[in-house]
């Protein structure tokens, strides 16, 4: 590569990287700014926006709701998907692969956007509007096919010798799963948990459709309401809240990229 060619390439890449990073600058500066605005206002760093956030009851409640939704869904998905993945891995029946493919098709075709109306109508019939349980069930159903697919793949690679040995000792179904297989699929369960957590923690549409009152709103909805409510939006509070909200995802980002490199993210979202 000629020398000037390399220089042009590096300038191009720097500009692109800046384009990716510049909109993020606000999230780094504003939460610590004394005069928070929509612009970049550099001042002596302060924690006053975080104090303001700590006084806001809705914000704290929403944090709790987000935790309930995310942890509840992740736990449900990991448990049900590993049970189903185990059963699928250790059984043979006609159409097994077709069944898994069919489930994956459903999970990619039936998106939140395409199904928001029937899911709302269904939850209305089940008296589950404005309930955190509804949000957990809808998220879990959406992620289960992918989770089953990943975990079945993991369990396929667990040698059957362990179970054979346990079988001799008289263990059966639930024992085999709980004592032998589940402890061995830790890495697979971790992948599924991270995948689900990042997506569910960040989701806006599902709670936007299903949650009706502030008391039940997760953080995504609370931030939306702080921003759209009448009057001047409390920019300082919103920016501090956004940073806290993004933090778990950012921690996962740094941890995963350090451990596995950025390529790993290819399978993490979607």
């Amino acid at each position: 590569m000629p020398k000037y060619g390399r220089a042009v390439l590096l300038i191009f890449l720097t500009l692109i990287a800046l384009w990716f990073l510049l909109p993020l600058l606000w999230l780094l500066v504003t939460p610590f700014s004394k005069e928070p605005s929509l612009g970049i206002s550099l001042t002596v760093p302060t924690l006053k926006n975080f104090y303001e956030l700590a006084q806001a009851k809705t914000a704290l409640l929403a944090f709790k709701n987000s935790l309930i939704i995310s942890i509840g869904s992740v736990a449900l998905v990991v448990l049900l998907a590993s049970l189903a993945g185990y059963a699928l891995s250790r059984s043979e029946f006609i159409g097994k692969d077709a069944l898994i493919t069919l489930l994956l098709i459903f999970s990619s075709v039936v998106t939140g956007v395409a199904a928001m109306v029937p899911i709302y109508a269904l939850c209305q019939k089940l008296h589950l509007i404005d309930s955190l349980l509804a949000v957990v069930l809808v998220f879990s159903a959406g992620f289960l096919p992918t989770a089953i697919f990943i975990l079945k793949d993991f369990i396929d690679r667990v040698p059957r010798a362990y179970e054979e040995a346990a079988l001799v000792d008289g263990s059966r179904g639930t024992d085999l799963f709980g004592r032998i297989v589940f402890p061995l699929i830790g890495p697979g369960a971790a992948v599924v948990a991270v995948l689900c957590f990042v997506n569910i923690w960040s989701n806006f549409l599902v709670p936007f459709i299903l949650i009706r009152t502030n008391r039940k709103a997760p953080i995504s909805i609370a931030i939306y309401q702080f921003f759209t409510e009448v009057g001047i939006p409390r920019i300082g509070l919103i920016s501090a809240y956004s940073l806290i909200y993004a933090l778990p995802v950012l921690v996962i980002y740094f941890w995963v990229s350090k451990k596995y490199g950025f390529g790993f993210f290819g399978g993490l979202k979607g």
Binding site: L9, F12, L13, I16, A17, F20, L21, L22, P23, L24, W26, L27, S37, L38, G39, I40, L80, A84, A87, R90, E92, I105, F106, S108, V109, V110, G112, V113, A114, A115, M116, V117, P118, Y120, A121, L122, L137, A141, G142, L144, L167, T174, W201, S202, N203, I209, I223, Y224, F227, S242, A246, V249, I252, Y253, S257, F262, F265, G266, K269, G270
Partner: protein
């Protein structure tokens, strides 16, 4: 496989499968079919038609095909896809992956890291980051442009579609970049080196060596990101579909007719059209993957 059922009785297998399959059936499979039925009724969000909807057969579809806002949403969605998925994410991802191929090290981590960061931050947060970035009076973009003599522009108001196209390119390029980067790794370096030695230009190397090797991945990428872009709701947070419907992509149209105008039946009929489009993309994806396996 002989004796593969020895660990688990049929009853156990059934019991292990049941909870997951019940949940999937109720909250994933059932809604997909029910939406087609709902689309044939005049179900409303409130009032008498919320309790006692009547069957109206294909009326909703006729109304949709006669509604200029429906065509507007289809058109906006198409431009949004073409701009942000094809010209944006796929093309930029490919150019970046090829540029980074020979650099590796610091540059690869720097650029990929920045792209992935934009990709994983929660959607509500990135939406407000862009509202701040594009703000007419205080936004960083206008501040920078102002510094070199441009006048202030209210981007989300005067160029809403362009704004969400650029936003969505920024948001989603990481996926294509990572996919193409890993695809390029599978090309034997000797191919590219020997082409260089023989004096092939960059353009020749791309069309004669790189492209044939990554064609299948390129197709997979295009199908997936088109499907996702067609179903993305984040632009709602930036523009709400406006001003005057100029950034109203199909998902926002479905939301508006169903939840703002309370016409759940009508919204369902449009949703089932979107489901069909999604199914088309999913089948294309399977077809493309199947072909790759046989090749």
């Amino acid at each position: 496989m002989p004796g593969s059922n020895q660990f688990l009785s049929r009853k156990t297998i059934f019991a292990f499968l049941a909870p997951a399959f019940i949940l999937i059936s109720v909250f994933l499979v059932f809604p997909a079919f029910w939406v087609i039925y709902l689309g044939l009724t005049d179900q409303a969000l409130t009032g008498i038609k919320a309790v006692l909807p009547s069957f109206v057969f294909l009326k909703n579809f006729r109304v949709a095909l006669g509604d200029r806002f429906f065509y507007n949403a289809l058109k906006i969605s198409f431009i949004f896809c073409l701009g942000s998925a094809w010209l944006g994410q796929a093309l930029l991802g490919l150019v970046l992956a090829i540029s980074l191929y020979e650099l590796k090290g610091f540059w690869r981590n720097f650029v990929s890291g920045a792209a992935v960061l934009a990709w994983i931050i929660p959607e509500v947060v990135v939406a407000y980051l862009w509202i701040a970035f594009l703000d007419k009076d205080f936004g960083l973009l206008n501040q920078m442009l102002g510094a070199v003599g441009f006048s202030r522009i209210n981007w989300l108001y005067t160029h809403p579609l362009l704004a969400i196209v650029i936003f969505n390119t920024w948001r989603g390029t990481a996926f294509s970049l990572l996919l193409f980067s890993s695809a390029l790794e599978t090309i034997p370096p000797a191919f590219i080196e020997s082409a260089k030695v023989m004096g092939a230009s960059l353009i020749q190397r791309f069309f004669q060596i790189i492209l044939p090797q990554i064609r299948a991945i390129l197709l997979t990428d295009l199908i997936l990101i088109t499907l996702w872009t067609f179903n993305v709701f984040t632009p709602f947070l930036l523009t709400g579909g406006g001003p005057s419907f100029r950034s109203e992509i199909l998902p926002i149209y479905i939301w508006r007719t169903s939840f703002k105008y309370f016409k759940l039946g009508y919204g369902s009929s449009v949703s089932s059209i979107l489901l069909l489009i999604n199914l088309g993309f999913a089948l294309l994806y399977l077809l493309a993957r199947g072909r790759k396996k046989h090749a």
